[in-house]
Symmetry: C2
Subunit: 558 residues, 2 copies
């Protein structure tokens, strides 16, 4: 008898529910609820462009509408019965913390905070806490604490404690009214299971480890002593946060009576502990040791796993290394590029040409032919430099340079950025033997995929599912339910049945790779001279070599 | 009684005749003939984008149509009589040499060369001879010859001997049929005076000195010995070139009988020795010691004069230092930027916005606010690096960077490039106490002028005439005619009467200048690290400082 699991994926602008046949990974149905508040779900502050918030009402409405919508569609599929749904898994953006009261109810739902944006959820891309992030980084360094060893030595303005500390500083009313703060990834399972008491919520190791400096090695969250140096009240808050964190194969609870009724599902349905979208996306794409999963969209997440029985160094420049954040029993390694699709989108705003036309024309060019080189830092650099204050660079333009040449160069720049990440993994012994891509760009842009194959000199595979995050969430729902209920004992077992690849594989062209090797050398020099503190270099050869490479490319074309 | 002089200005796409009242500089009339051959007068080679030629027929037709047109308009002006025209001066593009026969007739007019582009005039911007230019540069260095000391040590593909040597190499039929080669600036006076015998043509010191390594110090043109190392036939050609060269206050001859009739002018009209457009433009703009004249168009020419009684070092990086090339009795100093307006034109091709809209939006920005910095090398660097193989660079772009910000940054980049030239003059003791601008951009772009004033921290004045080249040519016509005929004895005397400034002066804003000083420091670092061979530098601070300057600019705006 077939069993089903639901993956619930909370993105930046919408939430999606996916009903999956866990006997073969078939996606029965798929329903998207677009957030209704603010600008596509993102609530902005006219006076501060760094602010980005979300309203919990969108989350609460979204989970109902999307699950009901997906189930109604699934009902039309032959053989599907709601009673055969055994699990629900949840992934969300993060770090997206919400201030909540003693019962776990978001402060934003209270009348008194109706117009207060600080009582809302602080969306991952809210950067208003950049000063607090610096403060935390400096304090950890000064105190010699190991808290940042697993996230490249730099705490981000996007993360949990930066945001809470900033709230404390700018809005003590909200801070004081908050009994606790809950990540969206923890809030949704709590709501679905009706177990919202903040002290009892099973918090996600993925969120805790990657964003809140949580590590059992040093006793969980950073010490009260440490937090006191930031603010006494932050130290006090620690008691109202959490001591433990869980992998997503763990059951958060059963579906509450209320939601079971609303959805027409059994109260036996197991809701698993939540995690971040990219991490569950990696699972949905089929991550395993030595397989790099790249989620390529506006930015990228580059994920790997290493069995936690192996010795693993603190790889400098990585966004995070957390035991169990992707698959239980494995270190989850997270890297990423701060902008990929965003850079191409940015560039099309300069041009009267669309993506489609630019891509078509760029595809006619040969590697090296543009004579151009760019750094992909228009949104800073997440890995390996971890520096938000880096910016873009374009070099080699002449009076003949055409828009499609710049467009291609920007694609190549992101490929070189991807290469730096892979090199870093491998330098520290994490060999990349396979690359599986997913995300919108991986699906829709064969030119980019081929350039990546040529630059990285590795075949680029693409996940069959276009909803790997929701698919990964569904996998965790089925694993949390367990084999006894028709699910799985282990994530790896579920992946073997559910995760698939598209037939098309982009294979590296060796001749192109040779040319890109030359250009990458130049990229790396620019990367180091602009991105690191002590690398001195004369760069007289850069423009010359680009011209030489260009001339060779043009001659070879003839 | 009023006297008149005609300035004849041969540009890249057209020839213009200007009738000037030399008692006050008033421009009576002005007629333009657009060349009819090729692409706006430029004949291209589909197989070689470096080729750019012109047909002598355009020159011959152009001089007649433009002079007749201008005179017919002048006839309508009260008080004008053709019999009061005393001189004609000529300026042209250059180096634009033509192969001619024993009688000075262009080979291109012969039937046998009808379809041979190598028999045409080799337009200044023809770069097909780049290999020969390198060869000449290397030979001069190897032999320790001083020939390149006055032009920054590098011979250009645009110049006389590169072009002739290339013709010798690729088309011996044309080379062998050519009795001599004549610069366009020498050809036109020869035609007008009917003295076309190549051996007798009074060649321009401006063309000879700036483009053909001519200098009386080393016996005129480079030695036969030197030329023999390039090719025996080039050494033989030297005998059929010239031994002497003349300043443009010298009379080339009287207007020939034929042209006097055609134009309805007297045979007493004096035709002066020709010179290049920029040099005569500087005279028309009012150049004098310590006054920099900037001709700002698609590229710039930056000209100064220093009395030849003074000691003047060989200023490295200048395009040329030639005694008498601008005003007799003064060293003419020529510098320039390879692209200014061309860079803005190039950028608008990226954008759906026009120059007008980009300018309007860019004008609303404050210095530093873009967070961007560019190098103005999209067409290489003429001064002070003399390197055609340099290219553009843009740094600091984020996902929020808008087209008008890049547009403003490109303007600023050309201002920084202008600053480097002024600094070089001053380092070698040539103080810049005044700047007079002319050319299309100087007239039409107040934003650019203000940015230049702020970056250079000097008032930017603009020549009153919008035809300073033709006006300068008319001045030389009047000087060659001499005071006895109602003209002038000296160029300086003529300038005092004829050259005027517009009322608008762009004054530097000290606050803006302070900001630009900071950005210029960064520009200079990029300039040196990408443009010179031995300057090593870590550039980690560049992106950071741009962000800091940007934040300050935005805060100051509030």
């Amino acid at each position: 008898m077939k069993k089903y699991s639901i993956g619930l994926d909370f993105g930046t602008n919408s939430v999606r529910a996916l009903v999956v046949d866990i006997s073969n990974g078939e996606e029965l149905s798929n329903y998207v609820f677009n957030y209704e508040k603010g600008d596509n779900g993102v609530i902005l502050d006219r006076n501060n462009p760094l602010v980005a918030r979300q309203h919990p009402i969108d989350y609460l409405k979204g989970l109902e509408v999307s699950i009901i919508g997906a189930l109604e569609q699934a009902d039309k599929v032959k053989g599907f019965k709601r009673s055969d749904v055994i699990g629900i898994g949840i992934d969300t953006t993060g770090s997206t913390p919400l201030p909540v009261d003693e019962k776990g109810i978001p402060l934003a739902l209270r009348k008194e905070f109706k117009n207060n944006i600080n009582a809302l959820a602080w969306l991952w891309k809210d950067h208003s806490s950049y000063k607090e992030a610096q403060e935390i980084t400096e304090l950890a360094k000064k105190k010699g604490e190991p808290y940042l060893n697993k996230c490249g030595g730099v705490y981000s303005s996007e993360w949990f404690f930066s945001k809470i500390l900033h709230c404390l500083r700018i809005d003590s009313k909200v801070f004081n009214s908050a009994y606790s703060w809950v990540e969206l990834a923890d809030f949704i399972p709590a709501v679905l299971t009706g177990k919202q008491n903040p002290i009892e919520i099973k918090r996600s190791i993925c969120a805790a480890g990657h964003k809140a400096m949580f590590n059992p090695k040093w006793g969980g969250l950073p010490s009260k002593e440490f937090l006191k140096h930031l603010d006494k009240r932050l130290a006090q808050l620690r008691d109202r946060l959490y001591e433990k964190a869980y992998t997503s194969d763990i059951k958060a609870g059963n579906l509450s009576n209320i939601y079971a009724k609303k959805f027409g599902l059994s109260e036996d349905v197991v809701v698993s502990v939540g995690a971040f979208d990219a991490h569950m996306g990696a699972v949905g794409a089929g991550i395993k040791p030595n397989t790099l999963v790249k989620i390529i969209g506006t930015s990228t997440c580059d994920m790997m796993v290493v069995p936690n029985s192996e010795k693993l160094a603190d790889i400098p420049g990585l966004c995070g290394i957390v035991d169990g954040s992707i698959i239980p029993g494995y270190f989850g390694l997270e890297a990423g590029q701060s902008a990929v699709g965003d850079i191409f989108n940015w560039f099309t705003r300069f041009s009267s040409m669309s993506h489609e036309i630019l891509t078509k024309k760029a595809a006619e060019l040969k590697p090296g032919e543009t004579g151009l080189l760019a750094l992909d830092w228009n949104n800073g650099n997440r890995t390996v430099l971890i520096d938000a204050e880096l910016s873009g660079l374009l070099i080699g333009q002449t009076l003949h340079t055409r828009p499609e040449e710049v467009y291609r160069t920007l694609i190549e720049a992101t490929a070189f950025g991807a290469r730096v990440i892979i090199d870093r993994f491998e330098e520290y012994g994490v060999k990349v033997k396979e690359i599986i891509n997913c995300g919108g760009i991986a699906e829709k842009n064969p030119l980019l995929m081929q350039i990546y194959a040529d630059v990285l000199n590795k075949p680029m595979k693409v996940s069959k599912s276009s909803q790997t995050c929701a698919l990964g969430a569904a996998i965790f729902g089925a694993v949390a339910a367990g084999k006894g209920k028709g699910g799985f004992d282990k994530v790896e077992d579920a992946q073997r049945v559910i995760c698939k690849l598209k037939d098309t594989v982009y294979k590296p062209n060796l001749r192109n790779n040779k040319i890109y090797e030359k250009i990458f050398k130049l990229y790396k020099e620019l990367h180091d001279v602009f991105g690191t503190k002590n690398y001195k270099k004369n760069l007289y050869h850069v423009m010359k070599e680009l011209i030489k490479i260009k001339n060779e490319a043009i001659n070879n074309k003839k």
